[in-house]
């Protein structure tokens, strides 16, 4: 893969642009990749940078064939994966086979840096284990000992629930009940009545997307958010926005980034807002950050050669508006995570003023430790 000096450096971004996850990442995520390139000067090592984007429509086969095609036919240098773990895992396979740095942003499956880790994968923003751990640790420490889980009944929900429950127990809390609901259950009332009877401190929602929003609404309708705190284990700001503060007030959630967390973030967010009339999600911020990180590494390594760039990425710490952290040997990027609480209508003073920080959890505690990792790369 000795690219001629004038060949552009091509960066590919594949995500769900049209379906379930199009809001939290989607086309705007692709735009962030382009911004990152622009802000970097549009060039690296004196070669122009090109961005390719594609919509995998949540189909793993589309994602992996697109990735393959780009790498083989377009000489792609690096690939960014947006949402959906199934597609990310499929692309990881391709990227490692073809030796291309592969940044995963939107997909949450911890398998990417455990069973299915590769030397070229960087899992950048978050994973579901971290979300569960952050929410679990922080909330139990704050005195919420009794937990009730409302879990989406499939692998994803189970692992969210399992990870959180482990943390809750490890920190001295108890799980007083669990109820599993099917995917796309539009009616949550019977589940919530069970939760209500449990007298728990925390109602933890181990689900995502439409299931989360509908559960949240029903929780409010049945007045559950008055008798217990509700914690969302995988929630993005777009969902809070669409539910509105009256439905979500008091909701506890973990995330890697919030637009209003500091000056640099606000600046980025403002720019996003002018274009999209909404605030960026943590994933969109991470898309920007990841590409910048990659470009810096290429610059520093003086080559696009994957192995050298990967070595550089794992060596140099990340420090930008998105986060401060570093990429570990298994590909996991370790950085601080935050627990937020959704503000009440009255507290919210400006558009999209939704979260207040409850606590920050240092990266070392938030993510699975290297010792626990199931990644073959770090197993001795």
């Amino acid at each position: 893969q000795q690219a001629p000096a004038n060949q552009p450096v091509r960066i590919g971004f594949i995500t769900d642009m049209s379906s379930l996850y199009a809001d939290i990442d989607g086309p705007a995520g692709g735009e962030m990749v382009k911004w990152a390139v622009q802000d970097f000067g549009g060039k690296v090592l004196n070669r122009p940078i090109e961005v390719l984007t594609a919509d995998h429509q949540n189909k793993a086969d589309v994602a992996s064939s697109k990735a393959r095609e780009w790498i083989d036919n377009n000489g792609l240098s690096m690939l960014v994966s947006g949402t959906n773990s199934g597609t990310a895992l499929a692309m990881a396979k391709v990227a490692s086979e073809k030796k291309r740095p592969f940044f995963v942003i939107g997909a949450g499956s911890a398998r990417l840096t455990n069973e299915d880790c590769t030397p070229y994968t960087v899992h950048y923003a978050y994973d579901t284990v971290a979300l569960a751990k952050v929410a679990g640790t922080a909330l139990v420490k704050a005195g919420n000992k009794r937990w009730f889980f409302l879990t989406a009944d499939y692998a994803f929900g189970h692992s969210l629930e399992g990870d959180a429950a482990n943390v809750v127990k490890a920190n001295g809390g108890t799980v007083v009940g669990t109820v599993r609901h099917p995917l796309n259950a539009s009616d949550f009332s019977s589940f919530l009545l069970q939760a209500q009877g449990s007298k728990a401190d925390i109602l933890a929602l181990a689900n995502a997307g439409g299931d989360f929003t509908n559960a949240m609404r029903a929780a409010r309708e049945f007045g559950i958010n008055k008798s217990m705190k509700v914690a969302g284990l995988l929630v993005f700001i777009n969902e809070v926005h669409s539910l509105g503060l009256n439905n979500t007030e008091g909701l506890q959630l973990a995330d890697s980034w919030y637009w209003d967390q500091d000056e640099a973030s606000r600046k980025f967010a403002q720019r996003f807002f002018t274009q999209y009339k909404r605030m960026p999600s943590s994933l969109q911020a991470a898309d920007y950050s990841a590409v910048t990180t990659y470009l810096k590494a290429v610059q520093a390594a003086g080559t696009t050669d994957a192995d050298k760039v990967m070595a550089q990425i794992k060596k140099a710490p990340v420090n930008d508006f998105y986060t401060k952290g570093s990429v570990r040997a298994d590909g996991r990027m370790i950085h601080d995570m935050s627990l937020f609480q959704v503000k009440g209508q009255k507290e919210s003073t400006k558009p999209w003023d939704y979260y207040k920080l409850v606590t920050k959890v240092p990266g070392a505690q938030a993510f699975t430790s290297l010792a626990e990792s199931k990644c073959a790369l770090v197993k001795k």
Binding site: S18, P182, F191
Partner: protein
């Protein structure tokens, strides 16, 4: 009891499907999308024009009904006399289009529609808390279902419609303006879907996907009830809602498939569905 609310939605939606199928021989795959549009119209009406819930309950079915009329006039009309499967495929395509357009315009996380003031709050029934709004949903849907049933089974219009299903040309040759009747019927079926959508808006998040998540279950309901049987779809809708509600309490893992299991069993015992006429 809780299942009744979902049952109420199943009932109205399957009723609309049954009306359209029973009378026009079209499996209206776009039904879920129309339901979704009903909810969105209500939301847009509130958000952009300040039209309140009660008015939306009338406006949205009208708007969506009009869209239905348009669909019938421009597209479905060309398919009469062909295999009804084409109607299914056409409406399937339409469903994709509608869903795509709304996704493009409103994103997937959707919007929330507030519960109308008059119906907010809840009544404590002693053994459980029943939000007032849910009680209203059940009531409203029952009234609508019974009204529709009466119209079709007990009036002359109904007879035209049923005859029109079998041999539209002949009924027309008797002097009935069948094309217009069919068009209005389709519109009415769509309006029913929209009505359900408005009813649902304050309960669930209004998202472009809300229809496609529901529609397959509703299909199963219609099959169990006996396709085209108006009464069958209403009773089965409510009944299944309750059964599903119970499964959620006692064996939640199965609540997703319980409807399909019931369907399989019913079909083995009564191939025409519970209320269907033997072919």
């Amino acid at each position: 009891m809780l299942g009744l609310v979902n049952g109420a939605f199943y009932a109205i939606l399957s009723l609309g499907l049954a009306v359209i199928f029973g009378l026009l021989d079209i499996v209206n795959f776009a039904h879920g999308a129309l339901y979704m549009m009903g909810a969105f119209v209500a939301w847009i009406a509130l958000d952009s024009f300040g039209i309140n819930y009660w008015l939306a309950l009338i406006v949205a079915p009208l708007v969506v009904g009009a869209i239905g009329v348009l669909i019938e006039r421009t597209m479905l009309r060309r398919l009469y006399g062909l295999d009804p499967l084409y109607g299914l495929l056409l409406t399937f395509g339409l469903a994709l289009i509608f869903e795509g357009l709304f996704r493009e315009r409103f994103g997937v996380s959707g919007q929330s529609y507030p519960v109308p003031d008059a119906l907010s709050g809840a009544t404590n029934l002693g053994f459980m808390i029943l939000p007032n709004y849910r009680a209203w949903v059940v009531l409203a849907s029952l009234v609508v279902c019974l009204g529709t049933w009466f119209l079709i089974e007990r009036t002359r219009l109904g007879a035209y419609l049923r005859a029109g299903t079998e041999n539209a040309r002949l009924v027309q040759a008797f002097g009935v303006n069948v094309p217009r009747m069919v068009m209005l019927t389709y519109g009415a079926g769509c309006a029913l879907a929209a009505f359900a959508g408005v009813l649902a808006a304050p309960i669930v998040q209004v998202t472009p996907l809300m229809g496609s998540n529901l529609i397959i279950v509703v299909f199963a309901v219609v099959v169990i009830g006996g396709m085209g049987s108006i009464l069958g779809s209403v009773i089965t809708g409510l009944g299944l809602g309750v059964v599903e509600g119970f499964t959620r309490v006692f064996y939640p893992e199965a609540s997703n498939v319980v409807v399909f299991v019931i369907m399989a069993i019913v079909l083995m015992i009564r191939p025409a569905g519970l209320f269907g006429k033997e072919a």
